[in-house]
Amino acid sequence: MSHETLNARRLLCPLPVIRTQDKVKTLQNGDILTVECTDPGVMQDIPAWCRINGHKVLETKADDGEYIIVLEVV
């Protein structure tokens, strides 16, 4: 099981979702991905993408213009 980080700062939705989608394709079930963003839209979009595709959102946090989403590939 690996834990990777994706830098999606400065990208506006849906690009953070696309980058997340493309990164997840390279990961295995059980792997953890942390996505770091600056577009607040990701707080809706990445969890929605995870629900549609069956992945698990472990954590979301917003801190001073940064939005972090941690997900588990299922």
């Binding site: 700062r9 506006l12 939705c13 849906p14 696309i18 993408w49 213009g65």
Partner: protein
């Protein structure tokens, strides 16, 4: 046992593709959605940037639609490939820089490629005969089928009964009778069908889902091409045209001025690509300078920037100039008055 047939649906996030997909799902077809990101999609970008819109929902409607329908959605980045569509549209532009017919042909062709690569059987769109002046006319819908290469694998469930039978209908994978005969610009049939399907919440985009249909945006894009002397563009160009006031005092440079904090935060991400400036002696906006300004031009850009800060009535304002390497220097400028900024400068 019959083979489980699979369709890929072009999901824009609007009502029509949502209804078209639902009508095929109800016929027992496995459907997955596809959404293409050209860089010009309206989907919430500027809402996300602008602080004053912070209370508006920031959902991506294509993802939301897919979730309501219970289908997977594949969002595909086509920014690079789309350049050829925008720059050389075989069928020309609409009212603005919107190459709608070529765009539809491109997207259906991409869906056809995806269909072949993923073992799907046919394509669904939410197109309605006569709904849009360029890409959804009775004369142009066969052009989309033919030039995309999808031919009779392209099903338009909302108008199917007005169109020749497709292969999925002829092969009885789907029933023509369970599809519809919508036509024209009225939205009433869609509203009624939405009610029948219990869809109470759906996006109703005014003017479509593409910035290229917007006159003001198209004007900025044409201005960018004219100033550069060529029609190429990168994603950052496309994004920056959506943000801030764009003021071009001279052909070789323009000033992009943040209108509020959200835009300033977004523009600050470009400080390494552009000369930037902001008022030092008063509160004021961040501005980026695009082009090749001379020292005299930078003074003028400072005067314009100062005009939009709290020092606009002051005799002099101190402005910090910053180059792409982050080196700063301050200059004193006299803010321009509103009358000193001609309307023609506003892009």
């Amino acid at each position: 046992m019959n083979q489980q047939r699979k369709a890929v649906a072009l999901i824009s996030g609007g009502l029509d593709s949502m209804l078209a997909t639902q009508s095929i799902l109800e016929q027992g077809i496995h459907v997955e959605g596809i959404n293409f990101f050209t860089g010009f999609c309206v989907e919430g970008h500027t809402h996300a940037i602008r602080k004053q819109d912070a209370d508006k929902p920031k959902r991506n409607n294509s993802l939301w639609v897919a979730e309501q329908l219970g289908i997977k959605l594949h969002i595909i980045d086509v920014i690079e490939e789309y350049k050829q569509v925008l720059l050389n549209p075989k069928h020309g532009y609409g009212a603005n820089m919107n190459p709608c017919l070529d765009c539809k042909i491109f997207m259906v062709n991409k869906a056809k490629q995806w269909m072949a690569e993923n073992g799907f059987d046919f394509i669904i769109t939410g197109e309605v005969v006569g709904q849009r002046p360029m890409s959804q006319r009775k004369q142009t819908m066969p052009i989309v089928s033919a030039e995309s290469g999808a031919n009779d694998l392209l099903v338009r469930p909302l108008s199917a009964q007005n169109l020749p039978a497709t292969l999925p209908e002829r092969e009885d994978w789907i029933s023509r009778e369970k599809m519809f005969d919508f036509s024209g610009r009225s939205r009433k049939p869609q509203m009624a069908l939405a009610k029948e399907y219990n869809f109470t919440d759906y996006a109703q985009p005014a003017g479509g889902c593409c910035f290229l249909t917007d006159a003001a945006y198209s004007k900025k894009l044409v201005d960018l091409w004219q100033a550069r002397g060529n029609r190429d563009y990168e994603l950052d160009d496309v994004m920056l045209l959506k943000v801030g006031r764009h003021i071009r005092p001279k052909p070789h440079f323009k000033v992009i001025i943040a209108r509020e904090d959200g835009e300033a935060r977004f523009l600050s991400g470009y400080k390494k690509e552009f000369i930037s400036m902001n008022c030092a002696s008063h509160r004021g906006p961040l501005a980026l300078i695009d082009g090749t300004p001379t020292e005299e031009d930078l003074y003028l850009a400072g005067q314009i920037t100062a005009r939009y800060g709290q020092g606009r009535e002051a005799e002099m304002v101190e402005v910090t100039l910053r180059n792409q390497q982050g080196e700063e220097r301050n200059i004193q400028v006299k803010p321009l008055t509103a009358e000193q900024i001609p309307a023609a400068w506003f892009v």
